[in-house]
């Protein structure tokens, strides 16, 4: 079953009240949603870890959700924060390829999904910075390969990644 906004919102409200059954369903559905959300945005073998980290953040920060507001934009903000945090930790992807699955194909709410996606976040920073981040931090290319792919010097790649990650962390809540 694919989670929708209304259903997740109701489950979260119940979970905040201590309903363990609702919480178990919520975590399961959020886990599936996050796995789709992160697909193509980090190496496939790192998705599980990132989903788990985000679910733990959801657990620790569940009181920060305001039940009068939509749920998915809140979850997406938590997910983006964890994603940027993971990139900043200097994660290096060792996988060779990334599959071509489009997360929006699984969702009934494509418009909302597009607005809260990580692609949208990457579109908000200059192309030179997002290109460097995509190559090195998401696809796991070496610095030499990144230089070749982007046409940037090594120093510029490092500067662009540093500045890009800083800007991404400032833009986590941007549409």
């Amino acid at each position: 079953m694919i989670a929708n906004e209304e259903g997740l919102r109701r489950l979260m409200r119940l979970s905040q009240g201590g309903d363990k059954q609702a919480y178990a369903i919520l975590l399961e559905q959020c886990g599936a949603w996050l796995a789709r959300y992160y697909r193509q945005k980090i190496a496939p073998d790192a998705i599980d870890d990132l989903v788990q980290e985000t679910l733990m953040s959801l657990h620790r920060k569940r009181a920060s959700y305001d039940p009068s507001r939509p749920f998915l934009p809140w979850l997406a903000a938590i997910a983006r924060y964890r994603w940027v945090d993971r990139l900043r930790q200097g994660y290096r992807n060792e996988a060779d390829s990334i599959d071509n699955h489009d997360p929006s194909e699984d969702s009934h709410e494509e418009v909302v999904a597009a607005k809260i996606s990580i692609d949208r976040l990457l579109d908000l920073i200059p192309a030179s910075q997002s290109d460097a981040i995509r190559c090195m931090k998401i696809e796991g290319l070496s610095i030499a390969e990144t230089c070749q792919r982007t046409g940037q010097s090594q120093a510029l790649v490092k500067v662009n990644i540093h500045r890009g990650l800083k800007r991404l962390s400032a833009l986590v809540e941007s549409e």
């Binding site: 009240g17 201590g18 363990k20 679910l55 507001r69 939509p70 809540e173 941007s174």
Partner: protein, 211 residues
């Protein structure tokens, strides 16, 4: 897969929580601000014109701008406790722009040489900074507690804004006592008070709220 991670553990660990509520958060900051203002009035006394019910226009403008600054930035800080994509408010920028009026006006007037009030009352100016800072610290506490309980996604900005909001509200509270109406005095000493609070907020708050 992380070792020791289990959805069942999270479910087992679940306790009821009180969800974030903006009205309650604003009320807690407002209550602290009222208490800080009352303490300043009790300890230092209220401005004579305000006490007489005939406030000077400069007092009204100063108090209004400081409330706008503290309120606008405080609102932004409390909003950051409950994040959401698409929610990023920009009201604090307007508040900051409006509050820049005093330092800019002070600069223009100071260039004409009318700086004697601000310079000859340095002792009062330092008092203004100290009491604004203490009042600001008090109002910063509920803001930081809300951020710690919440999930701010930009701790650095939250730090800056907490400092500016606290400085603005603290200066507003002290302004109920401060008898000076000179624009250079206000531009120098009140701006310094807010600026120092902003800097302290940036240095201290992010360490307290990172998650």
């Amino acid at each position: 897969m992380k070792q020791g991670f289990s959805l069942d553990d999270l479910v087992h660990d679940l306790e009821p929580v009180r969800p974030f509520n903006m009205v309650r958060a604003i009320a807690s900051v407002g209550a602290i601000l009222a208490a800080a203002a009352a303490l300043i009035i009790l300890s230092k006394g209220m401005r004579a014109d305000v006490m007489a019910g005939d406030p000077e226009p400069m007092f009204l403008i100063r108090a209004g701008l400081l409330l706008l600054l503290g309120g606008g930035c405080g609102w932004a800080v409390l909003s950051m406790a409950s994040p959401a994509v698409g929610k990023q408010g920009q009201s604090w920028k307007m508040a900051l722009a409006a509050a820049a009026l005093f330092p800019l006006a002070a600069l223009v007037v100071a260039m004409t040489g009318r700086i004697e009030v601000a310079m000859s009352n340095m002792r009062y100016g330092l008092d203004c900074m100290a009491f604004s800072g203490i009042g600001g610290l008090a109002t910063a506490i509920p803001m930081v507690l809300s951020l710690r309980r919440g999930a701010p996604t930009n701790p650095e900005r939250a730090g800056w804004l907490t400092g500016v909001a606290a400085g603005g509200l603290g200066a507003f509270a002290y302004g109920l006592h401060c008898p000076f109406n000179d624009v250079v005095y206000i531009g120098v000493w009140y701006s310094l008070a807010v600026g120092v609070c902003a800097l302290l907020g940036r240095l201290i708050v992010p360490r307290l709220i990172r998650w």
